[in-house]
């Protein structure tokens, strides 16, 4: 087993002003009065684990447990307050619907813009272009502005651009409800074939059936702390039990 993602004693601290100081004016006044109080909030608290090559790894936990913070760390968007995160490979984040698209530009132009965001050069995008159009099944609409697209078409296009090349790590935030059933199958096929070729998948979800269906291992986060880590079946079972007992108690 080759580790591909590593978190070592990772903590992320957000400092939230205890009162909402939205504006510079307010802040300046408070600061002059010496009254800027900040509350500390640990989104992740001393979390360590590794994800192996070819593994499908899931993160579960209730809202505010630190799941999306975790995704940000791995997408190298957020640096940990303390601890270390390392990722050995190309990460492809699946952007949520329409993020990174410009409504006035055509599908074609948006493919180039989106590809550039993922760090591809113009030449690479020209090479990918035809495949992306075919996979997304956009057809003749490719030269129409994105604002005329249905939400299904946008998601398809986004998925096609992000996954055209096999990434080492695919980041999935919640379920991607990608268009109709046949397209969903096509996406799942692509994901499984990438997996067979050695890609790892790192996913965050509230849907336990999906986690059970896809994941090998799961980490359960609670208030930023790692509560349990292990085999997907065991952890999901424990988590579900815990949740129902929590409901019963209250």
């Amino acid at each position: 087993m080759i580790p591909i993602i590593g978190l070592e004693n990772v903590s992320v601290r957000y400092r939230v002003p205890s009162e909402r100081l939205g504006t510079f004016k307010e802040y300046a006044i408070r600061w002059l009065q010496g009254k800027v109080h900040k509350r500390e909030f640990w989104a992740l608290d001393n979390v360590s684990f590794t994800v192996n090559k070819g593994e499908v790894f899931g993160v579960i936990g209730s809202n505010g447990a630190g799941k999306s913070t975790m995704l940000k760390l791995i997408a190298r968007v957020l640096r940990p307050t303390s601890g270390r995160v390392w990722v050995n490979g190309r990460v492809a984040p699946l952007l949520e619907l329409g993020a990174g698209f410009h409504p006035e530009l055509s599908g074609r132009e948006n493919i180039y813009l989106n590809g550039a965001m993922l760090g591809y050069s113009r030449r690479e995008m020209t090479e990918k272009y035809q495949r992306i159009v075919e996979f997304s099944e956009i057809g003749d609409f490719i030269d129409s502005p994105i604002r005329t697209y249905s939400s299904g078409m946008m998601t398809r296009l986004g998925f096609a651009v992000a996954t055209d090349e096999r990434p080492d790590i695919l980041l999935l935030d919640e379920v991607m409800a990608v268009g109709d059933l046949s397209f969903q199958n096509k996406c799942n096929q692509r994901i499984s074939s990438y997996r067979a070729d050695g890609s790892s998948i790192f996913m965050v979800s509230h849907t336990m059936s999906l986690i059970l269906e896809m994941c090998d291992r799961v980490v359960w986060l609670e208030h930023g702390k790692l509560r349990r880590i292990g085999n997907a079946v065991d952890i999901v079972e424990e988590y579900s039990e815990y949740q129902t007992s929590g409901v019963n108690n209250s």
């Binding site: 640096r79 995160v85 490979g89 990460v91 006035e104 550039a116 760090g119 050069s121 690479e124």
Partner: protein, 275 residues
């Protein structure tokens, strides 16, 4: 390019720093190009008059100001060109600095999901500004021909002040975007500052109206005056600028750019905690 890149990321060693950010900007040059292209395309696409608007806008302002002020300042030769050169220069500065700030906040949702050098947005705003100023300069030259001014070869030096104002605006734009990430009202405050700054810069009046005891301060302490002065030497006076007219604004522009870059890159890693 990206396929040859090393994808190993380690939060212990990879930090946004002065040099790292430069390297990443180079790696993401296609993204910056696409961002600028997007801004330009969306501006000129939906209306047939797109390009014409960019040309007409300063022209309209010029006409209004000429009507309003040419009698008052009738000592100024070819007043329309004097105003137009001022407007073109000022518009570049105000548009690009505001766009740098707005683009970063717009990009916030992306910055939270996918890595890209944060300075891309400000740099793209400057590139868009350069395209716009080139279009406005065409208007200026047409206007000069209409007013029967004979053009000289000194006009070929125009890239020099454009580079200087681009560097200066990028520096200011980076400082502003850093502030705007922390405080949303910075953009409103900046509008007020921008208006005041515009009236303090001799765009539609000659410097001769400054009171003697303030004249030196109002000109030499205002970087935009020094830059505008250089633009006017080339565009309006149609002469080759002196060395000091180039070196002074150039020095200030580089200084502001370096400060902006240092501040921005030192804070860039915190942006995701804020946006």
């Amino acid at each position: 390019m990206s396929s040859n890149r090393n994808f190993y990321y380690d939060s212990d060693t990879v930090k946004t720093s002065f040099l790292n950010e430069l390297r990443e900007v180079f790696n993401f040059r296609n993204f910056i190009y696409q961002l600028a292209r997007r801004d330009i395309l969306t501006r000129y696409k939906r209306s047939v008059l797109g390009v014409i608007w960019t040309m007409l806008n300063p022209l309209g302002m010029m006409i209004i100001m000429t009507i309003a002020f040419s009698q008052l300042f009738n000592g100024v030769e070819k007043f329309p060109l004097y105003v137009l050169s001022g407007l073109v220069t000022w518009t570049f500065f105000s548009q690009t600095t505001v766009a740098a700030m707005v683009n970063l906040v717009w990009g916030g949702s992306l910055l939270n999901r996918i890595y890209m050098p944060r300075s891309s947005f400000a740099i793209a705003a400057i590139i868009t500004g350069i395209v716009n100023i080139l279009i406005s300069l065409v208007t200026y030259l047409l206007m000069a021909i209409v007013l029967k001014v004979s053009l000289t070869f000194s006009i070929l030096l125009i890239p020099v002040p454009i580079m200087i104002i681009a560097a200066f605006s990028l520096g200011i734009g980076l400082l502003l975007s850093t502030l705007a990430v922390y405080f949303p009202d910075v953009s409103e405050m900046y509008q007020i500052i921008l208006t005041a700054w515009m009236y303090l810069t001799p765009i539609f009046y000659p410097t001769s109206i400054y009171p003697d005891n303030l004249a030196w301060a109002l000109t030499h302490l205002n970087p935009m005056y020094l830059i505008l002065n250089l633009f006017r030497a080339i565009l309006y006076e149609m002469r080759i600028p002196t060395w000091s007219e180039i070196v002074l604004p150039l020095g200030i522009a580089i200084f502001v750019l370096v400060i902006g870059w240092v501040v921005f890159t030192r804070k860039a890693d915190e942006f995701s905690y804020r946006i």
